[in-house]
């Protein structure tokens, strides 16, 4: 039972970072970014490579994963999505992001092969060694406190950035009305570039925690997409606060329901079904999602017009 709880919490932490990152791409360029999972895998391979080459636990390499994942995402924005901004429709953007996913995913596959030859380690279906912490008379995996602390710190920093700094004001303005922000001296390109950097950086950070729980390969990022989209949809598309709430809702219900199914002898392979159901039910019943409940107040960024 404790295992279940720990699993749900770690999974939700990870989803929260993923979902906030995905939302940032959505509210700036209206891209349902199918390459978002690959940013997470970039984080995995950065932390893995550095911990093999330079030693230290992968946790120590979170800042490097953050920076590198951010960089990849920034390049995706500058080279692909910025030139298309305001110039094409949502479906095209989605298809373009699928193409980008292919490019990144197969680049990761190539990298995994090279890394295997170069460092003589398994680069597919590997896991990271975790440490254990004693708490309340039981032993917990270190990824629980580590991921919780990192998520709390990153989300708090993001909040401060958006609401207490001048660039945050500019970012929110550019999201709400890019044309007007531009006319008022905001370089929309620059603040969106920052948003995209953060989008990839958050995903890559989430990625580092993944191999502490499950075996990963370059394709694992793709399978993270579904629950991430579910979290964003349930939370209310376009709301960062909603995405966080949605992540914990999806994270917990998915873990607990999959456990229940297993109890009555139904395979956990049906787990994605629950997630899909969450997306469909939200869109049918209450498309504005959780953030619709507090209707635009609080941590809700949304493009009007």
């Amino acid at each position: 039972m404790l295992d279940l709880l720990v699993g749900a919490l770690v999974y939700s932490n990870l989803l929260a970072l993923m979902a906030v990152g995905l939302s940032l791409a959505l509210i700036t360029c209206r891209v349902s970014n199918f390459a978002h999972g690959d940013f997470a895998m970039v984080g995995v391979y950065v932390a893995y490579t550095l911990s093999v080459v330079a030693g230290l636990t992968p946790y120590a390499w979170i800042p490097a994963a953050f920076a590198f994942g951010g960089l990849v995402s920034l390049l995706a924005y500058l080279l692909v999505f910025e030139p298309l901004r305001e110039r094409t429709d949502l479906v095209t953007l989605m298809v373009v992001s699928m193409a980008l996913d292919m490019v990144l995913r197969y680049s990761l596959h190539v990298y995994a092969d090279l890394m295997q030859q170069w460092l003589r380690v398994y680069t597919r279906l590997f896991m990271f060694d975790d440490f254990l912490v004693e708490a309340a008379g039981s032993r917990l995996p270190g990824v629980l406190p580590a991921s919780t602390a990192v998520v709390a710190a990153l989300l708090a920093s993001l909040y401060v950035l958006l609401y207490k700094t001048r660039v945050g004001v500019a970012m929110r303005a550019a999201i709400e009305n890019p044309g007007l922000a531009e006319a008022l001296g905001v370089s929309v390109r620059r603040v969106f570039a920052l948003s995209w950097f953060l989008s990839g950086a958050l995903a890559a950070t989430a990625g580092v925690f993944l191999p502490f729980r499950i075996m990963v390969s370059p394709d694992t990022g793709w399978s993270m997409l579904l629950p991430t989209f579910a979290a964003v949809t349930v939370g209310g598309i376009g709301s960062l606060g909603g995405s966080v709430l949605g992540a914990y809702l999806i994270g917990f219900s998915e873990t607990v329901l999959a456990y229940q199914l297993a109890q009555v002898g139904i395979s956990t392979a049906y787990r994605p079904l629950l997630t899909f159901a969450a997306i469909i039910v939200t869109l049918l019943v209450y498309p504005r999602g959780l953030s619709g409940l507090w209707s635009g107040k609080g941590w809700s960024l949304r493009r009007r017009s």
Partner: protein, 251 residues
């Protein structure tokens, strides 16, 4: 007028929307520190001209000079940074940002690290203080933390003006700042603009229908009709020009 005291010059600017010629070789000059008024019947091209001047619209032909520099190809934010600042006929605000944030946004020119906290660093605090001063002048200080969407129509106009002023413009392009404002407040706004011009030397190009209030503050007047300048000169001269009366009455 010599060419050194000229701040802004639009030379032979033309702009068409499909077949409709909205601006036809319009030439307008705004000297340093002057209040230049642009009038004309509805649909004569005044708003289009301001949008070309601030860069929202690209002219089909013609050139725009600002402080001796060709700005024709510059995007809106670059012109804003040079000091060309616009207020729109229908206030354009960020509804979910607070009143203060709407104003602060326009103060991006101040060279401080954009990442420093608004409350911590000295430069940032000064900025907030300056924003508050402007808000106070326009009696918006009591609603500083309200989202802009909660303001009345008149307050929205004032907020847009506050945003323009805090950015320390060199040239203010004002599109009907008095429209929809009650006569007492309209008089006050006009006084206020005059004062800003006198004290800070901000040049203004004002588009306004309410001649009773605006005319006496103007140095020079341009009259647009069907996208053409049909008359220009001192307020007295323009009012007496029979072409102008015909343009207004003929519609």
């Amino acid at each position: 007028m010599t060419s050194d005291d000229l701040l802004f010059l639009a030379k032979n600017v033309s702009k068409s929307f499909g077949g409709l010629v909205a601006l036809d070789k319009v030439t307008v000059a705004v000297p340093e520190g002057a209040l230049t008024l642009m009038i004309g019947p509805n649909g004569s091209g005044k708003t289009t001209f301001l949008q070309v001047a601030c860069g929202v619209l690209k002219p089909d032909s013609g050139a725009l000079l600002f402080a001796g520099r060709n700005v024709t190809g510059l995007p809106p934010y670059a012109r804003f940074r040079l000091g060309i600042v616009t207020t729109f006929q229908i206030p354009r605000l960020f509804p979910s940002l607070s009143v203060l944030e709407n104003v602060l946004l326009a103060a991006q020119k101040v060279r401080e690290s954009p990442l420093s906290l608004l409350s911590s660093r000295k430069g940032e605090r000064d900025l907030v203080e300056r924003a508050f001063e402007v808000l106070k002048l326009l009696s918006l200080d009591r609603v500083w933390d309200k989202p802009a969407r909660a303001l009345s129509g008149g307050q929205m106009k004032l907020l847009e003006l506050a945003r323009a002023l805090v950015s320390e413009p060199k040239l203010l392009l004002l599109d009907e700042p008095l429209a929809g404002v009650n006569p007492a407040l309209a008089g006050e706004i006009m006084q206020f603009l005059s004062k800003v011009r006198r004290e800070k030397g901000v040049a203004m190009l004002l588009v306004e229908h309410r001649l009773d209030i605006a005319l006496k503050h103007a140095d020079y007047v341009y009259v647009l009709h069907h996208g053409r300048v049909i008359s220009e000169g001192s307020p007295e001269a323009v009012v007496e020009d029979p072409l102008v009366a015909k343009a207004y009455l003929g519609e």
